[in-house]
Each structure stands twice: as C-alpha cells, then as structure tokens.
Amino acid sequence: MNELTIVILLAIGVSGILLWLLIPRHKSSMPAASSFPANVNNALPTAKHYGYFPQIRQALSVADSIYLRENAPPHVARQALRERRAVARRFLEGLHEDFSNLARLGRMIAALSPEVSREQETERLILSLKFQVLYSLVWLRLSAGSLPLDQLEHLTGLVGRLATRMDAAMAQVSALSVSQLSGDVGG
C-alpha cells in the first residue's frame, strides 16, 4: 500500500468518525453536565439492577441446576439452562449499565470541577476501555456456554456494595453542593 492509499483511507476513516460524532443524538437518560448542579439528587445514577439480585442469585444457583437435572425431563432441563444463560446475559448487560453509570458520574464530576487530575482521568479512561474488553470476553464465554453461571454470584455481591457506595457518593455531593451554595449566599 503506498502513501497515497494510506492517506486517502485515513482521511475517509477520520472524516467518517467525525461525521458520525457530528450527528446529534437523543438525550441519554443522564442529564447533561450543565444541568447537574441544579438537580444533584436526581442527576446521579443508581445501580438499579441491584434490586433484582435475590431473584438472579436464586435463578443462577448451583442447587437449582442440580434440582433441574435430577427432577425435570432432559429436554425441559436443557431449555431451562438455555433460558438461565439468557437471563445471565441480560444481567451482565445490566451490570454494564451500572458500570457505565458510575463511569459517567465520574466524568460529570470531572466536567464540573474547576481542577482535574490528569492521572485520575487517564486511569478512568483506561479502566473503561479495559471493562469493555473484559465485558465482551465474558459475554462471549457466557454465550458459548463455557462460563459457569455460579461465578456470576461474585459480581452480584460487588454490585450490591457498589449501590451502597453510590448512595453515599450522592449524599456527599449533595451535601457539598448545598454547603457551597449556603457559603456563597452567606459570604
């Protein structure tokens, strides 16, 4: 491939990305960073998939699988396992959403901060990219049936603690914003 071909392909590729970025998109469920301080409590994300953890835990439990294999007809057991994998995949998608919300919270706080640390931002960017790769790998293994469902139980516990931390973070941001506003008014 000569220089001409490379440059033309690069120009077309970069322009394509740029035009794709220029297309206005529908507003996401998260409010824009510019509206963030006005409604701090509503603006921050919650780990909403946490609410379904008990059911997911039950559905993915090893005891359930053993019970199905021992008591249900083979075709029913196979279908049930297929459906359990589908549920696990959807749950994984939910975890992806929770991760994205947390990462977005970090970016919103960064956007609205008068000072930003390069190390923190780089770290978050790398963590997000790493998550995308890992998520794809787990999703593929889950779809291929080579990932034991019970391993997902570890993640359910993690997201539970995440929800608690995010609630605390929301309260902290609210408190700081309110104290700043009071300070501004008082000062």
């Binding site: 220089e3 960073a33 901060s113 930003v116 998550f131 902290q172 700081l176």
Partner: protein, 280 residues
C-alpha cells in the same frame, strides 16, 4: 483554467460573498471572531488570486507564488477558527479545558513539525512546502475536530448547532483537500519536478498535459466541495444566533478530589472481578 473551472471559481466567490454577508448580518463576529475572519480571508484570497491571474497570467511565476502563499494564509486562518471552536465551549469547564488544551496544542505542533520535516529538501520547494503544509494542516484539522468532539461526547457535553455545523463544513473541506493535496503532491514529486523550469522536452510536455488534466479535475472537485461547505455554513447562519449559554455552576474542588479516586477504585474492582470470572 477551463470554462467549468472559471464558472465554479466565480460561483464560489459569490457563495463566499453571501457567507460574509450572513456572518456580518448575524453579528457572528461577536461569538466567533476567528471564523468570521476566516470567511473574510477566503473572500480576500479569492479576489487576490483572481487579480494575480488577471495581471500576471494564469501560468506566470507571480501568480504561482501568490496562489501558494495565499493557500498558506487560508490554512492558518482556518486553524485559528478551529482553535476558537475548541475553546468556545470547553473554556467554561475549567478543569477539562486545563487538561485538554495542552494536548490539542501539542497535537497541532506535531502536525506542523511533520509538515516542515516532510517538505524539507523537496523540489519545487514553495509548492511542495505549501502543499505538504496545507495537507498536514488539513489532516490536523480533521483529527483535532474529531478529538474535540470525542472529548465533548466523553464528558457528556454538546456543541451548539452553529458550532457543530461549522465543524462539519471545515471537516468536509479538509478531508477533500487532504486527498487532493496528496494526489497533486505525488505528481509534483514524481515526474513533474521541473514543471516550472526551462527543461521541458517532448515527453515533459505530454506529462505536463496529463498533469494539467488531473489538476483540473481536482480543482473542480475541490471547488464543488468547497461550495458545499460554504452552503452548509450559510444554512447555519440563516437564523439569528442564539444567546450564549450561561457558564455552568462548578462544584467545589473537594468533590472531585474525594469522589474521583473512590469511583476509580470501584471501577477497578469491577474489572478485577471480570478478570476473575475469566480465569479457568
């Protein structure tokens, strides 16, 4: 110039005049002074080059120097307009602006130095230098606009419609010019380096004729896309400009200092667990 090129040139001048008219009627110079300066430069360049062709002839050395120098001036003004687009929204977000402006400036400098290095020692030095610099600046423009929009998307910010349309127009012109400049640059460095010298034999004449046809074709394509971009800018300026959005109220710096490491730690834990899941 052939008839089609002449027609397109005058049409593009008419388009630029309309664009300048829109820009001043809408008082765009208050919000985007460098973009308006760029449109004025386009107009001045169009008249300057036409005047040079009229006075000295299309194939004269004076017209040749005039064209290439004005091309560089154009690229410089466009770079300033892009820098203005970068600063327009992000400067309100002090932390992010402080983080990205150095990266964007470094990126631009890298492309500028690459152009200088690339053009160094080339034959037809002014044409080659201008072409290479113009191509690299075009490429840098597209890359910087892409980086700017990625940053906006990443931090959940959005460019206003006018700025977005201006960026789209610049992108269109630059992408087409990168391709055109590369093809013409290859012709210059290929058989045509004695183009303006006296050493033109019969083979040279045939090659120059071929070059002329390629160059005409690219000029036509460039003019068509250039007019399309001007059309896009005129469309964006058809309505009065909206009032500038108020600066966002920033959070206290402690919020970032306390929450950002905590959030990153949580995100890292997520990844650790996914890695555990993948272990055999």
């Amino acid at each position: 110039m052939n008839r089609l090129e002449t027609l397109l040139t005058w049409l593009s001048v008419a388009f630029i005049i309309v664009l300048c008219g829109f820009a001043f009627v809408r008082k765009a110079q208050r919000a985007l002074p460098f973009f308006v300066a760029y449109t004025c430069t386009l107009l001045a360049n169009a008249f300057g080059v036409s005047l040079a062709y009229k006075l000295f002839g299309f194939r004269s050395l004076a017209a040749y120097y005039c064209y290439w120098i004005l091309l560089l001036l154009n690229a410089g003004m466009r770079s300033l307009a892009i820098a203005e687009l970068c600063r327009y929204k992000l400067r309100a977000y002090k932390g992010i602006w402080g983080l990205v402006w150095r990266a964007l400036a470094g990126f631009s400098l890298l492309f500028f130095l690459h152009a200088a290095f690339d053009a160094w020692g080339q034959p037809n030095h002014l044409a080659m230098y201008s072409l290479t610099l113009d191509r690299d600046l075009d490429f840098a423009s597209v890359a910087i606009l892409a980086a700017l929009l990625l940053i906006h998307n990443y931090y959940g910010l959005s460019l206003e419609p006018l700025q977005r349309t201006i960026a789209a127009g610049i992108c269109l012109v630059c992408a087409v010019d990168v391709i055109g400049d590369t093809i013409v640059g290859n012709l210059f460095t290929g058989y045509l380096f004695p183009f303006f010298g006296a050493n033109q034999n019969s083979i040279g004449s045939a090659v120059i004729h071929f070059y002329g046809r390629i160059n005409d074709l690219w000029s036509t394509i460039h003019l068509i896309f250039f007019m399309a971009a001007i059309g896009v800018w005129c469309y964006a300026l058809r309505r009065p400009l909206p009032a500038r959005a108020e600066a966002p109220e920033l959070l206290p710096v402690e919020v970032y200092r306390e929450l950002s490491p905590a959030i990153n730690m949580r995100l890292a834990t997520f990844n650790d667990r996914l890695v555990e899941l993948l272990k055999p």
